[in-house]
Amino acid sequence: MQVTSSVREPLVTGGKTYKDVTHDVSRHVEGKPTIGWMLGLAVSIGALLLGGIAVGATVWEGIGMWGLNKTVGWAWDITNFVWWVGIGHAGTLISAVLLLFRQKWRTSINRAAEAMTIFAVICAAMFPVLHMGRPWLGAYWALPLPNVFGSLWVNFNSPLLWDVFAISTYFSVSLVFWYIGLIPDFATIRDRATGLRKTIYGALSFGWTGGAKIWMRYETVSLILAGLATPLVLSVHTIVSFDFATSVIPGWHTTIFPPYFVAGAIFSGFAMVLTLMLITRKLFKLEDYITMVHIELMNIVIIITGSIVGIAYITEFFIAWYSGVEAEQYAFINRAFGPYWWAYWSMMTCNVISPQLFWFKKIRTSLVFTFILSIVVNIGMWFERFVIIVTSLHRDYLPSSWAMFHPTWADMGVYLFTFGLFFTLFLLFAKFFPVINMAEVKSVLKSSSEKVNK
């Protein structure tokens, strides 16, 4: 029998047995939807439809519907794209990196975090696709397909094309990783169900039996996928940062970008996981599975990545001064004290100062503070991308072409659309899929508590 340290808190509290785990998670799939869930879905679908008008207008009229001008050619679209991709980093980080580091606490949160990743990447992909202007031709511009121009291929020297490959690979590998984990849990639901539900979950479970040989292969597949997904997750935001770093725009042309973007992505991703998990655990009464230990550990990740991001901001400023390049120095002074000073200082407050509050144990173990700060962090991370993109562009080399960016209703509507899409997908997931990885939680039940619950 395995006995673990008595100083370490158990990962699952409340003396849960294997049967309790099955019951506590499956009952949400089997029961009638709650009023809260239906209200949430109604609001999300409302946002989706309302934002859909802006998406329709953008596709119909073209991206002239957005507030872009010839100086600020990238604004909310790329800000939102990078923001959503960043959020989409936590899921695979939790399931892959924490698996490699044998962090067993990941088991309660990996399923929902991975779902969040997949939905966030779908939302992110909306923006480059819409920015194409004619998305129906997008495949020719983004993929190496033979075409009528004598096969003029896509440009493999361009970071924008690397992004196409990075994000589509990340999306598909995350989806497969997530689905492989879902198969045993679908089988659990299948074996409890009758009638139509049995047929549907039977098909979703791919005929899973739980034989020891298949479990052995499942474990191997998980480990190798984790090994592949770890560099993948780091590569995605690295390549996103190349979109900026390989250009010659002052404020973008920075070698610090890859690690800085990756840290920022983990920072915002964990914050979004916390926002969603705090609501989910409350609504679905999963407090015994997503415990204070989980919340505290995630808050610690937020302190670390938030501090890395803070150091990156300061380093950028220092290097701009130290480089002696006037344009570079101006870009940074303009960020902090120019017309977009409010965006810069919002970013600094939300991302650098607010996560430092988590050094206090009282704050990082308080649900209310964690919830508020998790939202503050994501507001800050949105401003970070806005600051990098818009303030670097709006005052370029010729003062005669200096401009400001003003978002239009279409800019806001498309952003709203992605929120609607994200929450609609997440709510559907929360109702019809097991939100906690039952099989993996069962596997840590015994080794994580001294009392054996049979």
């Binding site: 020297n157 590998v173 098909a203 474990e219 997904a229």
Partner: protein, 176 residues
Amino acid sequence: MERDTNFVLGIYEDEDVLKDAVTKVRDSGVKIHEVFTPYPIHGLEDVLGYKRSRLPIAAFIFGVCGTGLALTMQLLMMAVDWPMIIGGKDHAAIPDFIPVTFELTVLLASFGMVGVFMVSSNLKPWGQPRIFDTRSTDDKHVMAIDLAVNAGLGEDKIKEVLQASGASEVNNKSFE
């Protein structure tokens, strides 16, 4: 192949009792058909005597294919089929091709390995699995013994071995 579909099932409550039981049952000469568990149990494959999975090899081979495919594709397109001068770089600008090569390596390795896993484990949406005991996806570990394979031992002897090994229940199960 003609198969008798009569099984004896030993139901176990605890993973450590189960691992111990697998050793005991195998030592007494009974051949185990398969053990079904609600979650992966480390070390169970060792006591069952399963060889290590070769899926990592599959992943590696697919990964190498991905690397080769990506480099070939990019070199053919950028340097052979329609060479263009982009930023004064070489047509065959290998460092620029690394990101896409990396992504396609990961993509093919993952999908190839998962595909092999699906096929080798017979996982498919229309699959009709033989479920020995529905509790094996909930809270019980189920050891299935095929009577036809253990014809020399006799059903009573097998049941005795299972009881002695710590099974909480011993049942019979037949499939059509």
